[in-house]
Subunit: 192 residues, 2 copies
DNA sequence: TTGACAAATGGAGACGACCTCCATATTTTA
DNA sequence: TAAAATATGGAGGTCGTCTCCATTTGTCAA
């Protein structure tokens, strides 16, 4: 999949400069409002170079958050290894909301990556979905969650949380969505 | 709020033509891919006229779905008047998914309207949120749902469903999200 | 070191979508 | 019917996005 490409020295340097600039802009919150060309100017490279390294704004966003998303996935695996499955899932989902809350850009990025209509799901997005799928599967095997549902619904809920990041009461509502999902995932009442 | 503006005869005619064209494109599924200018050409009006009547694509989308959204709100009120509150809420949410499934454009529109970062929430979106808020409040008063949660979480979940409309397994996942939300909304198990 | 080849650069300018402006046309009013 | 008010349309300005290719930079073998 990820064919190794021995990058030339200057190429690697420019690429790093672009990423560094993008990270700064991300932290400042202006990533999605800045002209794409300006990343180049800010990083001191030409526009052509920018586009060769990152064909789209989404590609750049993904690269910026590549580490962060990988960390989230690691965290998922770690939780899964050390906690009962249901608890691992809950902790992970709560942690996702924390992350989105702390890094405004992450919510925007995730929702952008997930909504990517270009078909090919970005690697980070796919990895994240796999992590959630594993967590849910483990909880299922443990008998902690109902068996008529898969991880897609959870992804969709996360998607909603990310996409709605500008709602006035976002944090509280996001926590509520997670609570609803987690409570809903247990065996439903038998009085239905 | 909505100041009555006696529209001139030709103005009303052009407006209607634009709406008719937009409806057709909506049903064909191409609304969000078509150049905004082309709505004008297709409807046989000038671009200036298009922009005077509908300053943005979102405004046009809202106008197209004004009737549909109003119908959804009416339906919510009607369900609320004829069914136990919890059942009314469930039926309404299921119906929303049906609607989004049947009219591909509606999901896209709702998610676009809700995500509208321009601050001022469009009228249709606000009306819909009010309808959901009322349904949840009624269910709460009836004691059918937990009391530590409001309608915002439900809106967020709907948002996620709409925003994720291009997921391969959308329909099943959307139904699952609704199920999770509804089951989660009941009193949680006491073994937590 | 040097020559030759491959890899990468940068930025001018093509392109395309969005939107404005105003001379002209249509409707309404008196 | 004439004047005033209202609406039209589309040429063209603006602004991001993205491409193209002449030039520069790095690599490697001799």
């Amino acid at each position: 999949m990820t064919a190794d490409k021995p990058l030339r020295a200057d190429a690697r340097r420019k690429r790093e400069a672009l990423l560094a600039t993008a990270r700064e802009v991300f932290d400042a919150g202006g990533f999605f409002d800045l002209r794409f060309d300006d990343f180049a100017r800010l990083a001191g490279v030409g526009t052509g170079t920018l586009y060769r390294h990152f064909p789209t704004r989404e590609a750049l966003a993904e690269a910026v958050y590549h580490g962060e998303v990988a960390a989230l996935c690691d965290r998922a695996r770690q939780l899964q290894a050390t906690l009962p499955a249901a608890e691992a899932l809950a902790t992970f989902l709560r942690g996702m909301v924390d992350h989105m809350d702390a890094h405004e850009g992450l919510a925007r990025t995730l929702s952008t990556l997930m909504a990517d209509r270009s078909g090919a799901l970005a690697e980070g997005s796919r990895a994240l979905e796999q992590a959630v799928t594993d967590l849910v599967a483990a909880a299922l095997q443990e008998g902690a969650v109902r068996d008529d549902m898969d991880a897609g619904a959870v992804m969709m809920a996360l998607h909603g949380i990310g996409a709605a990041h500008d709602r006035p009461n976002w944090r509280a509502e996001a926590d509520d969505v997670i609570t609803l999902v987690l409570d809903g995932l247990r065996r439903p009442h038998s009085d239905g």
